[in-house]
Symmetry: C2
Subunit: 167 residues, 2 copies
């Protein structure tokens, strides 16, 4: 992701980030990039899924609540809102997942916005296999290093930023 | 990015995230996805760059230190390490930026790993135009909402995670 930086033209800008903010922002960006890359590689090695596959499957299984049987389906535009990807990225991702049998698409004749994504049995098995080692990786790389105060601070920071970013 | 979730098969896993950790992790993932999407849109609207363009240009100008003149060049494999993208993503990104005149590539006849990316004058002007409104967006969406303790907590959390993730 992006980094902020000093260059001659911006040093005098009164809204420039100060040292403390620079440290936090650069740290956040580096953490986010490296953690994503590392979790993606671990997931690929452990279960053959990418984090993008995982995101889509999680969004679908979240939609199912606690149920582990019955059909799970979600409108494409709701899925786009959940994962926060550009429409073209989501479309390519769903095509790849459909070829691998993880999801199916059901188009809606009357309304393009009404198209559904459906979780397949293979998709369900894939996420059930992938989740335990992925959680172990998240714990190892993040939570095993943080104390309770830091975990709560992270949750609070996320709430504050999400409120500012809006939906 | 990925989310963690509860599904029947994993509830009994003793390494599952507890409520406090779930709140932090889901919050972090949602913040990261929405903040990235929002900053990307703002940057596009303000200056016609994507966050990916911005990342590459920042990596190059960071390399230049405080200098705002003279040629700035960086080896492709160092750039890949800085932005933490897969090699194919970086290659496509550099092709797009080259077509738009933001960077040039210099291949090395003897050694494919030795290829360089060079910042053009147009690339330098683009980042100088883009940075001030981008910093303003980061401040508005993140730092204006956080107190000093939260800023320091974010920096510390990032340091801890980066140490665990390794390089």
């Amino acid at each position: 992701m992006c980094q902020l930086f000093r260059y001659a033209g911006a040093v005098d800008d009164p809204r420039w980030l100060d040292e403390r903010e620079q440290r936090a922002w650069r740290g956040y960006l580096a953490m986010q990039a490296r953690l994503h890359a590392r979790l993606n590689r671990r997931l690929q090695d452990d279960s053959g899924l990418s984090l993008s596959d995982f995101d889509v499957l999680v969004a679908l299984t979240d939609r199912a609540g606690g149920r582990t049987d019955g059909e799970v389906r979600m409108r494409v535009h709701e899925l786009a809102d959940t994962v926060q990807w550009e429409r073209s990225r989501l479309s390519h991702q769903l095509s790849r997942m459909q070829r691998r049998g993880l999801v199916e698409r059901e188009d809606c004749e009357d309304d393009a916005r009404g198209a559904f994504v459906v979780l397949t049995d293979e998709g369900r098995r894939a996420i059930e296999r992938a989740a335990p080692p992925h959680v172990a990786a998240v714990r190892e790389l993040v939570f095993d290093g943080l104390d309770d105060g830091q975990v709560d601070a992270l949750a609070r920071i996320a709430e504050i930023v999400l409120e500012r970013v809006g939906s």
